[in-house]
């Protein structure tokens, strides 16, 4: 069975093995023992609350309890951009209008900004190809929302996730070719490699500072603004289901979208609920809406340091949930303990 849990100090070797299997698209999980060890130390200190909230980096691993193997990883960074500037382009609107000529022109405009400085970031999602089946991807990605719903005081109100931008099959980034190359005079791959080692903010020194009309860019560059890489489209949909939106911020190099949410508006904040582990009464079940019974549920314990989460078929009814013994063990819980529950998929409004 699969459990998503807070990473632990002794996960380093297994994490390294998995990192060797990550493709080139993810820059934050390079198979580098030093970098990885440093990051893991920060993650352990984060769950232990021994470093300030804005420095924390909560890493979660998905463990296959049958084999003890790590199946995936994901993370939540407490705050971005507080040690080096975090740049985006923000898409705004400027209207140029002349009553005399009866001309009204509405122009999209790119502003180089650090607006997202200090935001909480979802990042470093990776699921091993062997486990890319069923609801595993959802479980891994969405585990972070349940964690945030359980511990909202640890996070800033603004939550973001950067999505890899569109590239052609050849690897060419139309946005980079239409904009960045003129100012960097180097290949996209080189720029990408520099960002991988944390040099992103300094490359941004070369970016033009003044607002840019999108209309100046070549058509193919304009078209991909806010568009994700084909392989990232499913990940984007999962985040959008949870209440994250593209609000007009994009990556300065490939124009990949940043998805954003207010923490208080997340589906997990609105719809997740606490429940006590124990039997449910017939009366409770009778009143429960019919549709809910077939829904798989995300269920987590409520312990920061030993956060654990599973996917369950048990439906909570009026504050109680009848979790099977095996699931209780996965969560390190027992009858009478409180768990947090959320349907894996959003419910529709009846409106």
């Amino acid at each position: 069975m699969l459990v998503v849990r807070a990473i632990q100090a002794d996960d380093l070797d297994a994490l390294y093995v998995m990192a060797t299997q990550v493709g080139s698209g993810m820059t934050t999980l390079k198979p580098d023992m030093k970098m990885m060890g440093d990051r893991l130390n920060i993650a352990v200190a984060s769950f232990a609350e021994t470093i300030p909230p804005e420095e924390r980096d909560y890493m979660f691993v998905m463990e296959d309890t049958d084999t003890g193997r790590l199946a995936g990883v994901c993370a939540i960074k407490g705050s971005v951009g507080l040690t080096e500037p975090f740049y985006n382009y923000r898409i705004g609107t400027l209207v140029h209008s002349s009553r005399e000529l009866n001309v009204f022109t509405r122009m999209d405009t790119l502003y180089l900004s650090n607006d997202l400085t200090g935001s909480t970031e979802l990042c470093s999602l990776f699921l091993h190809p062997d486990y890319r089946t069923g609801n595993n991807g959802k479980l891994l990605s969405k585990s972070r929302f349940l964690f945030i719903a359980q511990f909202p005081h640890l996070f800033t109100e603004k939550l973001i996730a950067e999505m890899r931008g569109y590239q052609e099959e050849s690897g060419r980034s139309p946005f980079y070719e239409g904009l960045g190359r003129h100012f960097f005079k180097m290949d996209f791959d080189h720029v990408d490699a520099l960002t991988a080692v944390g040099k992103k903010s300094f490359i941004a020194e070369l970016m033009p500072r003044q607002p840019l009309y999108v209309a100046y860019l070549p058509d193919d560059a304009q078209e991909v603004i806010g568009k994700v890489h084909t392989s990232t489209a499913p990940a984007r949909r999962l985040l959008e289901q949870e209440g994250m939106y593209f609000e007009g911020y994009v990556d300065i190099f490939d124009a990949g979208p940043v998805l954003q949410a207010r923490v208080s508006e997340l589906r997990a904040m609105r719809d997740s609920a606490l429940a006590e582990i124990g039997p449910t009464t017939d009366w409770d079940s009778a009143c429960a809406p019919e549709s809910a019974t077939a829904e798989p549920m995300l269920v987590s314990n409520t312990t920061l340091k030993d956060f654990r989460m599973i996917l369950s078929q048990s439906v909570p009814v009026n504050g109680a949930v009848a979790l099977p013994e095996a699931e209780q063990q996965l969560l390190h819980c027992k009858t009478g303990d409180t768990v947090r529950t959320l349907t894996l998929n959003p419910r529709k409004n009846n409106g």
Binding site: H96, S97, L101, H182, F202
Partner: protein
């Protein structure tokens, strides 16, 4: 002898004929009889005016050939945009520096600016084909500045000259297509017609980009058109750069044509103008040894301005200039009067 003189009412027919010659760009003469008449009247009033501060005066000079026909025009506006703001693109250079990557290069950017507002503007320079490349063409161009030397209070300390930019065979402008069209949503020629060639209208600030345009983002043909003159402007360009005008700092917001500009102290007419008293030249064969130099010489009266070309020995260390009776008559000066002379 060719004479440069202020335009007169009697010149209207000749100017109408000139206006029928196709000329590119916008910095040319008015086309309709009504507008030509208005321009002539404004010029006559301007020459006659007593000016304290340069304002809406416009001066139109014509080049009269030996047979008294009008073969050229040249204008001066005392203060560009005086009833508004004269807009242009300033050609800025931005240094892009990254210490980490050890990268440093420069990027050009065009910024809509109003810096040329209040400069004196030279424009509408035109000479007939026969006069192309002759000293008389140079005389016409320079006579404007000689008038400014004579009457500096009528002009600003800085001058600029917009020259028509390049257009394609259909009259389209690659620079316009990359920039102005996106905001005006119309063709180059339509836009120029709509605003009548003006660069001082509020609608420019309403429609044109407020933020610098990074040149590397412009299509190649638009970049290539920046600061390029229409072939018809080459003569004017060469005369003006020889005079001391500098290109490269500003370009036109519509067609990207160059705008030449200079402080008057950098202009050869200002630094090299000599005030000399008129004496009457007598043909003395044995003085023929002294090398004869070519000078533009103009009368010293702001209300009766004339300029012609004459040849005489160097005036550097002379107190007077010997002019033939014919030249004196053309300039309407007599012995003892002051004239302004510049090597040409």
């Amino acid at each position: 002898m060719y004479v440069v003189r202020p335009v007169e009412l009697a010149d209207i027919a000749a100017l109408e004929a000139l206006a029928a010659v196709p000329m590119p760009g916008v910095h040319t003469l008015p086309k309709t009889r009504e507008k030509i008449l208005a321009m002539i009247e404004l010029s006559i009033a301007s020459f006659a005016a007593h000016v304290d501060i340069p304002s809406e005066e416009a001066y139109l000079l014509v080049l009269e050939s030996e047979d008294k026909s009008i073969v050229g025009t040249a204008a001066m506006f005392a203060a560009a945009g005086s009833n508004g703001t004269y807009f242009s693109f300033r050609n800025d250079v931005i240094q892009q520096v990254s210490r980490d990557l050890n990268i440093s290069h420069s990027v050009h950017a065009l910024t809509l600016c109003s810096e040329l507002t209040g400069y004196s503007q030279l424009s509408s320079f035109y000479v007939g084909e026969r006069e192309h490349g002759t000293p008389e063409a140079a005389l016409l161009s320079r006579a404007r500045l000689m008038f400014a030397v004579l009457a500096p209070h009528r002009f600003a300390d800085r001058f600029f000259v917009p020259l028509a930019g390049v257009t394609d065979s259909e009259g389209g402008s690659p620079f316009w297509d990359a920039l102005g069209r996106k905001f005006f949503q119309m063709d180059f020629l339509d836009a120029e017609r709509t605003i009548g060639g003006a660069r001082n209208r509020t609608l420019i600030v309403e429609l044109m980009p407020h933020y610098p345009v990074y040149v590397p983002l412009l299509p190649g043909d638009a970049q290539a058109a920046m600061g390029q003159i229409h072939p018809s402007g080459e003569l004017a360009f060469n005369l003006l750069t020889a005079e001391g005008f500098e290109a490269d700092d500003y370009i036109d917001i519509f067609d990207g044509g160059p705008i030449l500009q200079a402080h008057k102290n950098s202009l050869r007419t200002f630094t090299g103008a000599l005030q000399r008293r008129v004496s009457t030249s007598v043909e003395i064969p044995d003085r023929g040894r002294e090398p004869q130099l070519r000078y533009a010489v103009s009368s010293g009266s702001e209300h009766n301005f004339r300029a012609v070309i004459t040849h005489c020995p160097s005036l550097e260390s002379q107190l007077s200039v010997a002019l033939s009776a014919e030249v004196q008559e053309a300039l309407n000066v007599a012995e003892g009067d002051t004239v302004i002379c510049v090597r040409i």
